[in-house]
Symmetry: C2
């Protein structure tokens, strides 16, 4: 074990080193030579409980998330008492997540003196499969260094954002009064993934219509054993956060150990297929250049082989 | 060599058996166990000269194609004298190409008594990479059984159709007076791939405006050593077909041996990457199920491995 070695860094991060944790997260979000060693140690620990937080930009997810963290650390239970919370802010639309990083700085100040809160923006810097692989890896790193609860917050309602946020044990979809337009593009997707709906900014007019719309869509949608409760909050007035925690606690208790394990197994299957797909795509890229590739193009041009045999040669040598 | 064996069938098709040729083409368009043996023999012969024919539905491609075939077989040279012609009709939008097959029947009657013409609709019936792989394979089968000229006709101007038609040595884009609307969706793509433009139905009004539009777009577009000539035809009045043959002959002579070989090498590279991609995608599918996959999902669920190591295990065992 040398300095900068993932096993060492995990030990340091467990003892409270934020620098060590930041470095581990950089390893998983980049095409670092330490990526494989980092995931090997990260996945050796059980996963944390993951809370997904998604909804249209401007819905007030960050402020609500901060109030949620405060409530949990002040003693509101989520399945069990919460001692530390990590937040991953994910913006798939921005390669450098400038906006989220700025948001981080502001929120960091709020939680700066609290050792129990860790906030990090996720950027893609060459990770094999982009954020949809990097975020699960980062979640496991956070689990391995001692965070039992990780909040994954995405900035919008695009397909990728909803996919990332919904790879969670409980997914919160944050809306506002008059939400219809902002979510129209992916309404069905959001309905499918929501475990809890929040009508935030419930001090504004139109709350009842929005609730009616949501209830109606839930009535029309696929019947599921868990019907997502609809919670009204006002983050600016610090109202309704207790109801949100209660709804999340209710969902976690509803899941229980068996259903949680079954859902996680399904997500594990999907994640493994995702990694497999990324690896074979990388293999295609590697196979599509180099001396052997050019030799095979020669052979094809001279009618000495066929493309299927040539492609198999590339796969067997790459 | 047994009956139904591709090597036997190629010999039979060379001697004029249409049944043998039809069977070989069925082998390459389906996930047949004979697919690999068929391509092995097909790609051992040099490729035929390929003419792509594309344009919006209703532009009169089929009628024009028939007149073109007639002119060629009547002695108009295309680089050299044409002794036999094969036509592949491709409709990527229809899994069973019902429309094209109907068109075939009508055209078959026209050429029924002519042993020098072979017309076939291409359908995808489980080929690994769909029509974009099956069509090049079929072209090589036709080359191997003795067709020096193959016309690949697609029914529309979608991306896939233009891609298929443009994987040709010379590509003809058929338009009509007032063509603008019907090609709007993929105008840039059509401009890029056209070696010859045809304004068919030139007996109608608007020919001059259409020619002006095309010339202007060619002026604005990327400068290329070969500027596509614009030929006016009227298939119903059997007018302008001689000009079309002359334009195609001009393009073939312009290409010469060296440029033709270079262009074919580029298409060979792209084709090999296409087959490679299809093979690795198939590998992903195979890897994503079965006993080993389930064992690895178990191992992941029990924190005994990470998804990258698991995916590599799948790739090494599949």
């Amino acid at each position: 074990m040398t300095p900068g070695d993932p096993v060492t860094l995990v030990a340091e991060a467990r003892s409270g080193s934020r620098g060590a944790l930041a470095r581990l997260l950089t390893y998983v979000e980049s095409a670092s030579s330490q990526h494989r060693a980092t995931v090997a140690v990260a996945y050796a620990s059980p996963p944390p409980y993951v809370l997904g937080l998604t909804g249209p930009p401007g819905a007030g997810k960050s402020t609500l998330g901060d109030l949620l963290i405060r409530a949990l650390l002040d003693g509101a239970p989520l399945g069990e008492a919460v001692e530390r919370v990590a937040v991953l802010c994910v913006d798939p639309s921005s390669p450098f997540t400038g906006g989220a990083i700025l948001g981080d700085r502001i929120r960091m100040q709020e939680h700066a003196t609290d050792e129990r809160v860790f906030i990090r923006s996720m950027a893609t810097r060459g990770h094999l499969g982009g954020l949809s692989l990097a975020v699960p890896d980062a979640v496991r790193v956070l689990g391995a260094v001692g965070f039992a609860l990780v909040i994954v917050e995405t900035v919008g309602v695009g397909q990728m954002e909803v996919e990332i946020a919904s790879a969670a044990d409980s997914t919160v979809v944050v809306t506002n009064p008059g939400w219809g337009d902002s979510m129209q593009a992916n309404k069905a997707g959001l309905l499918e993934v929501a475990d809890v709906f929040v009508i935030n900014k419930a001090d504004r007019s139109g709350v009842e219509e929005t609730r009616r719309d949501l209830e109606q869509m839930l009535d029309l949608g696929r019947s599921r054993p868990w019907r997502p409760p609809i919670v009204e909050t006002s983050a600016t007035e610090r109202r309704g956060v207790g109801d949100l925690v209660a709804a999340l606690d209710g969902h976690r208790r509803f899941l229980g150990e068996a259903a949680l394990a079954a859902a996680r197994r399904e997500r594990t299957r999907a994640a493994l297929v995702g990694v497999l797909r990324a690896l074979v795509q990388a293999q295609t890229l590697v196979g599509s250049s180099g001396a052997i590739f050019e030799e095979l193009v020669d052979a094809l041009s001279e009618n000495r082989t066929d493309p299927y045999r040539a492609a198999e040669t590339l796969l067997s040598t790459s």
